[in-house]
């Protein structure tokens, strides 16, 4: 059995729909309309011990819902999951001592007290032996370089510093599985980079299994060997990051440098013109057309330099998201349900 095993996992919510205006508010007291939102629609996934997997997807794709399901915060509408053999939503203490969830937008530390106090509390809650606690805390504070900040109230820390403290709090009990939900959200480039560096190092040394969601492609590129693209509650892709481009990019970017100061005016016929600053031109060309286009261009014009590149990863992923949501839109996944007041 895999370390994390998910079979046909589904989660739907019922969301109250309120029309604008006072009248709608009044009728809402007696008669309410609900919409069923299918946040996760049948996910199958296996993750082995020590893997670092990224969930990619647009907002509302079901990434966070999946992490919440795996950490037992919510229970599924259908399907099953096992993490280290435990069913997460049974919430046994044994399971809860072996994983951690870090949410970039939520704060787990005591706001008015120094982080050191929150850590002390975690030591007790997770029954961490004093020697282990001291060693782990020492290691983590060294790695993240926050030793001086331990005794400063959390509310006086910067966002980046606070995130580091959140990570320490989550890792004190040496969890075997770590769920990270947007751990670098809102951080500046340097803070992001520091967190990435730390996570990479920690994962390599400890071989913990990590599932990460992020909007930042840089996070993913720096950290994860495996990428799972989720859109509209379904898995669209599961494989390496480079594979995403091979599989989903339909175009390549052709950069040409013509001899002289002029650029030809008939370039539209070969592909979409992205940029044209004489004598350089960037063209978006269909993948299958590349040899033909190149041959025609070289035959008809004097070209000094040429390069063929894959489009940037962000672009491919963005296209993929748009495609997948259009597909899902066609399937009309939302069902209107009408019910009476009370949730």
């Amino acid at each position: 059995m895999a370390f994390i095993e998910i079979r046909g996992l589904q989660k739907s919510y019922r969301v109250y729909q309120k029309q604008e205006g006072l009248l709608a508010s009044l009728t809402g007291l007696f008669h309410r309309e609900y919409r069923n939102v299918h946040a996760v629609q049948g996910i199958d996934l296996e993750v082995e011990k020590g893997e670092f997997v990224a969930f990619l997807g647009p907002n509302g794709a079901g990434k966070t819902t999946t992490l919440k399901l795996l950490s037992g915060v919510i229970s599924p509408s259908a399907g099953e999951a096992r993490v280290m053999g435990f069913v997460p939503w049974e919430r046994t203490n044994e399971y809860r001592r072996r994983f951690a969830l870090v949410m970039g937008q939520k704060n787990q530390l005591w706001w008015d007290l120094p982080a050191a106090e929150s850590f002390r509390l975690h030591q007790q809650i997770y029954a961490i032996a004093p020697t282990d606690f001291d060693r782990t805390l020492g290691e983590l504070t060294d790695l993240l370089d926050v030793g001086k900040l331990l005794n400063q109230p959390v509310r006086e820390l910067s966002l980046g510093e606070r995130m580091k403290m959140e990570l320490i709090a989550a890792l004190l009990h040496s969890p075997e599985v770590l769920f990270l939900d947007e751990p670098t959200i809102g951080l500046d480039v340097i803070a992001q980079h520091n967190i990435q560096k730390f996570l990479k190092h920690y994962q390599e040394v400890r071989r913990v299994t990590i599932l990460l969601t992020s909007h930042y492609m840089k996070d993913v590129a720096a950290l994860c060997q495996r990428v799972v693209v989720i859109a509209e509650g379904q898995i669209m892709y599961d494989g390496s990051l480079a594979g995403v481009v091979d599989r989903f990019s339909t175009h390549k970017v052709l950069t040409l440098q013509f001899a002289g100061d002029q650029i030809p005016s008939d370039l539209d016929q070969y592909g979409e013109l992205i940029e044209a600053v004489a004598p350089k031109v960037k063209l978006r060309v269909d993948r299958t057309e590349i040899p033909k286009v190149l041959a025609a261009l070289l035959a008809g014009h004097t070209i000094e330099d040429v390069s063929v590149e894959d489009p940037p990863l962000e672009e491919v992923i963005a296209d993929l998201f748009v495609q997948s949501s259009e597909q899902a839109g066609k399937k009309s996944k939302e069902v209107l349900a009408v019910g009476h007041s009370g949730r």
Binding site: Y13, R14, K68, S71, G72, V73, I74, S75, W89, R91, N93, R96, R97, A100, L101, K106, Q108, W110, D112, L113, E117, S118, R120, L121, Q123, Q124, I125, Y126, A127, P153, R343
Partner: protein
């Protein structure tokens, strides 16, 4: 066992530290609570003067003022400012998740946090309390009660604390179903004001209530938050009645403890079913 005690101690210690962060505001709030005593003394003096009789249902003016001071002690144990609304807020903004993810019991945590709050409160309030009781010593016309009554008084205070905690926590957990509990809390406070005996001794209600309501009033839980400990101290409840009262109070503590547990379990189930 030792490890558990240590966990509890750490939680208690951290909660105390947290309470002490905003010490200025806290001290001021604590001291302000003593101001109404003066108005109470004037109020009851004029009530008795207007009534033109020495006692109302067994309470002289001095008794009523002594009673009022004692309900302040009772309420120092049983009132739980911000507990219910705090739980409802945690449910609404998702902070309650912590108790689903971490191996820690919400109710146990609330209990310790409140003990910490109370300890800090007593630490600050003990001075003013001692001063007020010293200044108002004359109103206690019977002097100190005997040791057994004092023991019953202390027991009823401890149970008043537990009852107040579980009662308000249960109201807070209604937040799992309704998200906003502030109006419900307002209604509760209104009932609490009358039926806990905070406003006047519950004996004053006799004769105004229909018989069936009288019976309800005799067994209802709110009286144990303020009226009962004060009446015990003043010797208004004695002998078998006192034993019965303590048993009923203990029963209510158990009832609301169970209600809390069930509400918490169901609430978490619902929370995890509907979102989170």
């Amino acid at each position: 066992m030792y490890a558990r005690a240590q966990t509890w101690w750490t939680i208690l210690r951290i909660c105390i530290e947290e309470r002490l962060v905003y010490r200025g505001d806290f001290a001021l709030g604590t001291l302000m609570r003593f101001l109404p005593i003066i108005t109470q003394i004037f109020l009851w003096t004029s009530v008795y003067a207007a009534a033109g009789q020495g006692d109302i249902r067994g309470y002289t003016r001095d008794d009523v003022i002594a009673y009022y001071l004692l309900t302040m002690v009772g309420r120092a144990f049983s009132s739980m400012p911000g507990l219910a609304s705090g739980i409802a807020r945690q449910i609404r903004d998702g902070e309650i998740k912590k108790f689903l993810i971490q191996p820690i019991d919400l109710l146990g945590f609330l209990l310790l946090a409140r003990i910490a709050h109370k300890l800090v409160y007593y630490g600050v309030a003990i001075g003013p309390f001692a001063l007020v009781f010293f200044l108002c010593g004359n109103y206690f016309t019977n002097g100190w009660p005997e040791a057994s009554v004092l023991a019953a008084f202390v027991a009823s205070l401890v149970m008043a604390f537990l009852l107040g905690l579980f009662l308000e926590a249960a109201i807070g957990m209604i937040g799992f179903w309704f998200l906003e509990v502030s109006s419900l809390l307002f209604v509760y406070m209104l009932f609490n004001f009358f039926f806990s005996g905070h406003m006047f001794p519950l004996e004053f209600l006799t004769g105004y209530l229909p018989d069936w309501l009288q019976t309800v009033a005799h067994y209802q839980p709110l009286q144990f938050l303020a009226y009962f400990p004060a009446a015990v101290f003043l010797g208004k409840i004695e002998g078998p009645e006192l034993v019965e009262g303590l048993c009923v109070q203990a029963a209510w503590v158990m009832v609301f403890f169970v209600v809390c547990r069930v509400a918490m379990r169901r609430g978490f189930q619902r929370y995890s079913g509907y979102g989170g």
